[in-house]
Symmetry: C2
Subunit: 150 residues, 2 copies
DNA sequence: TATTGTTATACTCTATAACTATA
DNA sequence: TATAGTTATAGAGTATAACAATA
């Protein structure tokens, strides 16, 4: 009988399980987001720098699409980051309508410092856990990425 | 020798572990946040309704402090939610300077519908997982809450 | 003509400072 | 005098519409 799994004590209610994971995820994300190198920098600005670090230079349109934001909005964000010296605009040699946006050394430093702070906080939080719990978190991270890849 | 744990292949680098969990958490939180009942409602507005549902009525100052936002900013958010009929303002009988902000039935509906949608998305995502992976996520949720309680 | 980026303009959310009512 | 809330005003970040340059 297939419905047994539903009431089996070793596999609790799917609904409860989802709620618990939702709450835990939001709470951990909030704590992590609070750790940043430049505390005047918005999440949207940081996301652009992090994208440039991870995937290399982009055109304005590509950045806007990836961050699911309008082109004028991304243009403004890029202006701010350019003024701060964290990225550069270069006209595309082949298609002169385009501009290539790339991270500067200082921009890379900002991303790395923020990442370092977030990871340092998380490391110190999980370092104290027994190995078994750390193993759970390690496996969970993989499953969470699998789930969001759908 | 205590340092063995650090290089033991069964307990990978703490730094890698933290990074993986950070990325997975942000990604899952982002996907969850996208699910909402009223798609014109901001995260800040939803957070207020969720707080009122979870912890009951608050004064304006309490809400502002809990959400780490200025009083005028919270006042504006509360005005919007009041106009939409999702919460009520009532002068405090004892201290007439204060106003008690409480969820209406409609406000409760909005919170529950958003929570239902987020959980429905997450349920469908984890329902397909083998029991062993679901068990990992269930345990991880508990550990994540433990870590954020510090 | 179509596409890429930019400018013009407006709306929301945030903040600080000033004000009102109450303690 | 101090505190709770509100109003006034301004600074980011978002959007759509209109425009310029290039394909």
């Amino acid at each position: 009988m297939k419905t047994i799994a539903h009431t089996d004590p070793t596999t609790p209610e799917l609904a409860t399980e989802a709620s618990e994971l939702r709450i835990a995820t939001f709470r951990l994300a909030r704590r992590l987001r609070a750790q940043r190198a430049i505390d005047t920098m918005s999440d949207g600005q940081f996301a652009v720098l992090a994208t440039l670090k991870m995937y290399g230079p982009h055109t304005l349109g590509e950045l806007a699409e990836r961050e699911r934001v309008s082109a004028p909005s991304m243009n403004r964000t890029v202006n701010c980051l350019e003024e701060s010296g964290w990225l550069t605009r270069t006209p595309d040699e082949v298609d002169r309508r385009k501009v290539i946006i790339a991270l500067t050394g200082e921009g890379l430093d900002v991303v790395e410092e923020t990442v370092r702070r977030r990871d340092a906080w998380l490391e110190s939080a999980i370092a104290a856990l027994p190995d078994a719990k750390r193993a759970i978190l390690r496996q969970a991270a993989g499953i969470m990425r699998e789930v969001t890849a759908l």
